[in-house]
Amino acid sequence: MNNKSFILLLIVATLMVFGVIAENARSTASPTKAEVSVDTTGIRNTLKNAGITPREAKHWKEL
């Protein structure tokens, strides 16, 4: 690879890195409002198959 090609490759790589940084900064400044949810179906099925019935516990609080 000659020097010109190498410099061109370096410039493209630098632009890509800055692009990623800019996108990360933008998404941090305005995060998505989508709620994170966990699918507990698998957990419930495992418990059910094991014959375990969850029951509300004492001594806890919401944060």
């Binding site: 957990i43 419930r44 418990l47 375990i52 969850p54 029951r55 509300e56 806890w60 919401e62 944060l63």
Partner: protein, 326 residues
């Protein structure tokens, strides 16, 4: 639905998002609530001699109906019950035994008490609580065999239904509790004082582990704390370690180490000091602190002689602390 909830049963204070379990493996955040996975599902059910707990000052030579579920909020390297304590309930074979059935089976077996034991009853708190209340109605005693790693509020709530407890005082340094059990010491010391204040009869067990907590200083400091904070009449059982779980590389505790511990404890003024798993040792039996007469002679879990009458030494009438009758 809350995104995060905090369990407040024990000092770990696990913070759980939906679907997550606590460190103990048996409490889980589901449907926005903390739920227990071991209500009515013990994995161990036996009738044991009460001396096995060990409790030497409670209803001698009676049977105690003993139950345990999977899980534990400690992770002791020496645990002899690790096959259930370090397991989730779906990994153990469980019975269906509602509180009323525990009580009826206990009565049917001729037991005078129910012991919540083997793993740790703190993690099956709700099951213990409901069963213990019914047991009292039927004039059965309730016994906890526990590491005492519990917060004050839940302890105060259940205390009226717990008559006696054997509590592991595993060591006397925070470092030991951290390295051996992944826990902390201070809450255990606090729980012991609360238990005594609330009228629970307590006996302590210290498992003496070679190279870990068997120094003269460790044993001396432990005995001093007991004498200063709980008083000389709290029985202390020194128990012999056998290679188990994550400590199979260590030898069993030498009998002379246990004898040394026994001497230190007596020199610190503790009146009732016992040595477990060393047949024939003087520390197997109970002696009157006043006239040194043999009160209860034991071999293993068998009682050969009992000279305590109406809770007193037969010879000098000194009151011997404990629960001698229901």
């Amino acid at each position: 639905m809350p995104k995060t909830i905090e369990c407040q049963l024990c000092p770990r204070a696990c913070r759980l998002t939906d679907g997550q379990r606590g460190d103990c493996r048996v409490r889980i955040h589901l449907d926005g609530k903390l739920q227990t996975l071991v209500y009515v599902n013990p994995c161990s059910v036996h009738v044991d001699p009460i001396e096995k707990k060990p409790l030497f000052h409670v209803l001698p030579q009676t049977g105690t109906f003993s139950i345990a579920t999977a899980g534990c909020n400690l992770h002791c390297k020496f645990c002899q019950n690790w096959q259930i304590s370090q397991r989730a309930p779906e990994e153990t074979h469980n019975y269906d035994l509602p509180p009323e059935k525990v009580v009826s089976e206990a009565i049917r077996s001729g037991s005078k008490s129910i012991s919540y034991t083997y793993s740790d009853p703190i993690v099956f708190y709700e099951y213990t609580y409901d069963t213990a209340r019914l047991a009292h109605e039927k004039k059965l005693l309730n016994i906890w065999v526990t590491a005492g790693y519990i917060n004050e509020k839940p302890l105060l709530e259940i205390a009226p239904y717990i008559d006696a407890a054997n509590v592991d005082l595993k060591g006397i340094t925070e470092d030991y509790y951290r390295r051996m059990s992944s826990a902390t010491l201070a809450p255990v010391l606090k729980a012991l004082k609360i238990m005594q204040r609330e009228g629970i009869w307590i006996e302590l067990t210290n498992l003496v582990v070679p190279t870990w907590n068997d120094s003269k200083k460790d044993i001396s400091d432990l005995c001093q704390w007991i004498a200063d904070n709980l008083g000389p009449d709290v029985p202390l059982h020194f128990s012999r370690f056998w290679p188990q779980h994550q400590l199979k590389n260590l030898p069993p505790t030498p009998p002379k180490t246990l004898s040394m511990a026994w001497e230190i404890a007596k020199n610190k003024g503790l009146n009732y000091v016992y040595v477990g798993n060393v047949p024939g040792h003087r520390g197997n039996s109970t002696f009157c602190p006043n006239d040194n007469k043999l009160l209860i002679q034991r071999i293993g879990y068998q009682i050969l002689a009992n000279n305590i009458v109406d809770g007193k030494c037969k010879f000098c009438q000194t009151k011997i602390p404990g629960i001698w009758k229901i």
